[in-house]
């Protein structure tokens, strides 16, 4: 047993899990607001990271300016996608809507590879100090910042949905579209808003991972890892998404630990989330916090 490695992997799992949680939250936001299962969530992460990288390296803007520009771009991008592609699909069968998001995902994936190449590109250094000491543990600054950023986003979401007018309108829409509409809520702007927020917040996750590991098309894999997280948490629960993300992050690193210490099967970290997914579907298909739909006729 190598406890040092264990602690290291658990911290890693927590940080990665928090990022999964953030992306899962964005996924659930779109699903709740507009009943669209977004298979292009990972591409939002990827595009956000590439756009930020592009501003930083090409135009040499300071990090925070580039970051804000990325957010602005992603908001516009999210609205554009919703209005141009997803709005005409309202009322179409589930298969069509899912296929449209899958189509978008492969288009963006290929476009990004075309535009930026397939090799990982490092971000320019952002923090003056490489690592800080907390309670005697040396922690890399980027990890700390990414954890803080994730927690900040989650807090921001909680505030947004509890206290702001737009957040309440979105919750009302998720609860019952017709009632919300009759109360004067513009469903169109709620849908567009959901996509905009989702795209922008996913981009934050993308930038964080990009700063840590460099930007490459492998980033969009987060969009696939989100599925175990949201199924575990419950497809329509934002809290569930966050918790599911953290659990999946911890679990895959635990699997990696078990694998490296005893099993030596290799590559377990990649597949364990999907085994978990199948098991959850067998024993608790609506997840930890999801609403079980009961149909009465």
């Amino acid at each position: 047993m190598d406890w040092g490695l264990f602690v290291q992997l658990m911290i890693n799992g927590l940080i990665v899990g928090a990022l999964y949680g953030v992306v899962a939250m964005c996924f659930v936001l779109i699903y709740k607001a507009s009943q669209v299962v977004n298979f292009a969530q990972g591409e939002f992460v990827l595009i956000g990271a590439w756009v930020c990288w592009f501003f930083l390296t090409k135009y040499q803007v300071p990090f925070f300016v580039g970051f804000l520009m990325t957010l602005a771009f992603m908001v516009a991008f999210g609205i554009l996608i919703q209005v141009v592609v997803l709005r005409p699909m309202i009322g179409e069968p589930v298969i069509s809507v899912i296929m449209v998001t899958i189509g978008l995902s492969i288009i963006f994936q290929a476009l990004m590879k075309w535009a930026f190449g397939v090799f990982a590109q490092p971000f320019p250094p952002i923090f003056a100090r490489e690592s800080v000491a907390i309670l005697g543990l040396e922690v890399r600054t980027v990890y700390l910042v990414s954890l803080v950023a994730s927690l900040g986003i989650m807090g921001g979401f909680a505030y947004f949905f509890k206290a702001t007018r737009m957040g309440l309108a979105m919750r009302a829409t998720a609860f019952d579209q017709q009632v919300a509409q009759s109360l004067g809520i513009s469903i169109r702007s709620v849908f567009a808003m959901a996509w905009a927020i989702s795209a922008a917040v996913s981009a934050v996750a993308g930038v964080v991972v990009g700063v840590v590991n460099g930007v490459s098309s492998a980033l969009s894999f987060i969009g696939i890892k989100v599925f175990p997280a949201v199924i575990l948490g419950g497809l329509d629960s934002i809290v569930g998404g966050v918790l599911g993300g953290i659990i999946i992050g911890l679990l895959e690193n635990l699997a990696h630990f078990v694998d490296s210490q005893w099993l030596h099967w290799g590559n377990l970290i990649e597949v364990v989330p999907f085994w978990v997914l199948i098991v959850i579907l067998m024993i608790k298909p609506y997840g930890l916090f999801g609403t079980r739909d009961i149909e009465r006729v």
């Binding site: 589930v94 296929m99 290929a110 997914l277 199948i278 579907l281 006729v297």
Partner: protein
């Protein structure tokens, strides 16, 4: 095909048997037979007729084995309304299972191909059963998991797939005659295509086939009419995996070697693209969509070839990025078809047929 065709005036059906016939007129049946006979002649022309059709034959073989798998997916998605994003994994499972049976147990390829289909069915059931209790969305996510788990399994299981080295597959043979060239293997694929497409067309005329359609159209009403939802969803998933397995096995024995890299999620999405382009819930549409998807890269090659050297090519590097362009083309075609022609090529084909039947007096 059954039920949806254009019928000439005065062609009234006297009983149910004639209404559910696969070919609703004698002419359409003879056209189909003529088409198959014509296809049978192709390899002979290529071998002895002096016209080199080797490349065309290899494309047709591709359309054949991919078309079988696409039909399986269409039975699941188009007829039962369930979604699978892991079809390529089951296709791959079949591609490995048949050489596995052949190499390790000495089962002749003739028998190992259907057995591979059954093995793919078993693998499909493993992932389908937990999801079949639930609605389409959950099956989509379960099959997504199946895609990654099976892909990982192919790389890991040396005893089954040869691991990262891949598996050799011996050619199809009957009584010592090996179908190891394009011209001969073409007949094997053609036989399987005809057999399995007729099988699917017949399935849709039976009680079970109608039950699948009922599950798609309104699952609550279907359940109230006594259709066991779980049973039919699982069955549909099993049939779909079976077709995928057969298609995969043919692919394996055609190439002679199966490597683990090919069966990615992008391939699964291409299968979905085929049936959307061809037409969800249309049997012949599956074949048309497959042909479209196989020809798409050829068209892309032609286009970039024609644009080579132009300023556009120099600015965007079209030739060097051909593989990305293909992916983009697949995605764009899927979205365009969903938005502008959701019923696919099969629908367009029916309209063209109706137009020419009435030409020049279209009213």
């Amino acid at each position: 095909m059954a039920g949806a065709g254009f019928r000439p005036c005065g062609d009234f059906k006297q009983d149910y048997a004639s209404d559910t016939r696969i070919f609703d007129t004698a002419a359409s049946r003879w056209w189909c037979v003529a088409g198959v006979v014509l296809l049978c002649l192709l390899p002979i022309v290529s071998e002895y007729g002096g016209i080199d059709l080797k490349y065309e034959l290899s494309l047709l073989i591709q359309v054949g084995y991919l078309g079988i798998a696409a039909l399986g997916l269409n039975i699941l998605v188009g007829f039962t309304g369930q979604i699978s994003i892991g079809h390529a994994a089951f296709f791959g499972f079949g591609a490995f299972a048949s050489p596995f049976l052949n190499n390790n147990f000495g089962i002749p390829v003739f028998f190992s191909i259907p057995l591979a289909g059954l093995m793919a069915t078993a693998a499909g059931m493993l992932f389908g059963i937990p999801a079949a209790r639930l609605k389409g969305l959950y099956l989509a996510i379960a099959t997504l998991a199946a895609q990654f788990i099976l892909q990982d399994f192919f790389g890991r299981a040396d005893w089954f797939s040869g691991g990262t080295h891949g598996a050799p597959a011996s050619p199809f043979s009957i009584f010592g005659f090996a179908f190891d060239t394009d011209a001969t293997f073409f007949y094997v694929v053609l036989a399987y295509v005809v057999l399995l497409y007729l099988g699917a067309a017949n399935l849709m005329r039976t009680r079970d086939g109608r039950a699948l359609v009922a599950v798609r159209d309104h699952y609550l009403s279907a359940e109230m009419m006594g259709i066991n939802l779980t049973k039919y969803r699982t069955m549909s998933f099993g049939i779909s995996s079976f077709y995928a397995g057969i298609g995969g096995a043919l692919y394996g024995h055609y190439l002679g070697f199966v490597s683990v890299e090919g069966f990615t999620i992008l391939f699964s999405i291409q299968f979905l693209g085929m049936i959307i382009i061809g037409g969800l819930g249309s049997i012949m549409g599956s074949l048309m969509g497959t042909a479209f998807m196989v020809l798409l890269p050829e068209v892309m090659d032609g286009l970039t070839g024609a644009l080579a050297g132009t300023p556009l090519d120099r600015a965007l590097g079209l030739k060097d990025n051909l593989s990305y362009l293909r992916e983009i083309a697949v995605g764009v075609t899927i979205i365009l078809f969903l938005v502008f022609e959701p019923d696919g090529l099969a629908h367009r084909w029916r309209q063209i047929k109706a137009y020419w039947k009435l030409y020049p007096f279209s009213y």
